[in-house]
Amino acid sequence: MIKETALYDRHVKLGAKMVDFHGWNMPLYYTSIIEEHMAVRKAVGLFDVSHMGDIVVEGSDASSLLEHVLPSAVSRLDSGEAMYSAFLDANGNIIDDTIVYKINNKKYFFVPNASMIAIIFNWVKDNSSGYNVKLNDLSDSISCLAIQGPRSKDVLDELRLEFSEQFKFRYHEAPEYGLNSITGKSEIIISGTGYTGEKGVELLVNAERSPELWDSVLEKVRKYGGLPCGLGARDTLRTEKGMLLSGTDFNRDRNPYECAISFIMTNDHDFIGKENLIKDTKEIFRGFKLNEKIIPRHGNQIFNGNENIGTITSGTISPILGKAIALGFIDRKFSKSGTAVKINIRDKTEEAIVSKPKIVP
């Protein structure tokens, strides 16, 4: 059966085009993907990302378990800080990427992708024997509202919510919004995170009470020229900024070096996947800029002459550039920014220029 977030009725009332996204009935767009995209770049956008997971790891071995299942130095986080990381399999390939939050020395939580919640929960659980921890999947009781864009702080000011800087989070006492199952207190978590490349926050709140919070936030978002935004804009926004999409850009077939996220490799301890992790992979994750509006799609092949040198994993229009852009993996020999390559798109061959994954600065 298809799942709905606590905000489903709000989306329908706003006239959203709903789609099945990995088993979730989610808004693809309300009016137009491109208009919503531009609202986030120029003003502010509000997204329902409640389909994302929330898993709490609690106990005296919480940080050592996380450093067993993640290649990142989780123990270096201060309370109230978060970091980007990824779960690796025994071959060092990424199962899912995530954000890990430190509440205190004995309590952390992380946010897996919607389609990966059960898989990651079981993965961590299966690898937790001998660790004194308790794992709790709270995904169904938490809503996540992302407020993204240059005016996001103005929206928070209007709501008397304090802004959180990037990868910091804070708690806002709010009895009217009910118990937050992550903290066990009546509060909203305000996290300086997002998936758009813009300044912004994500609010983690009791799911049942979240429609009222959605209404209050949306009113202020509109006041600053913003819009409610669907998953369509979320995808075009993250693609412009070269942010990986789990299950699309990688699917247990690429490691962090290949995905150009070696910055997450900060863990000196033994972690799952470390032994088999290859640093000098043949291919690396890159962006591709086209001079046309013909969009490369997942699976299209990249060529240098007749030589197949890579594969496109994501493609879209860049509303900022007004041209097609793509992400994918290319032979390191051709990965330098500015290199001209060809991409086969259906019955056409289009020229493209290699860029860093962050295509739009």
Binding site: K17, L28, Y29, S32, I33, I34, G232, T236, E292, K293, I294, I295, R297, T316, I317, R346
Partner: protein, 124 residues
């Protein structure tokens, strides 16, 4: 609810068309534009191109996908809506005002549906 004007005919592939004498005007339905998401590029055929009923007439690139648009008749392309080259989003905003191609009919017409039949076909 999806807009489906009474006076037009519809194909199973979600094109609408209107016949005035031997000129057939073609566009895509409101349902089609909402499924496609934002239209960003229309790959128009050359005027003079000969098309067959039920075969690809042109392709539309949207944020989500690239789709072929099929010809409702055997005919020659006499005009394309060049205005849409600079503002393809008009197909989303006004799918029935934003015709794509005009054909001069030279042969058969593909099987088509009335507005009522088309509404049933898309499950509304």
């Amino acid at each position: 609810m999806t807009k489906i004007p009474e006076e037009l005919r519809y194909l199973k592939t979600h094109e609408w068309f209107r016949t005035d004498g031997d000129i057939v005007t073609v566009g895509i339905s409101d349902f089609a534009q909402s499924q496609l998401t934002d239209v960003v590029f229309i790959d128009f055929p050359q005027t003079g191109a000969k098309k067959k009923a039920g075969e690809p007439l042109l392709s539309i690139e949207s944020v989500k996908s690239a789709e072929d648009i099929f010809s409702p008749v055997d005919g020659d392309v006499v005009e394309v809506n060049k205005e849409l080259s600079d503002s393809p989003e008009k197909v989303n905003k006004d799918p029935y005002g934003s015709w794509l191609v005009k054909l001069k009919k030279t042969g058969k017409t593909a099987d088509s549906m009335s507005a009522e039949e088309y509404r049933k076909f898309i499950g509304e």
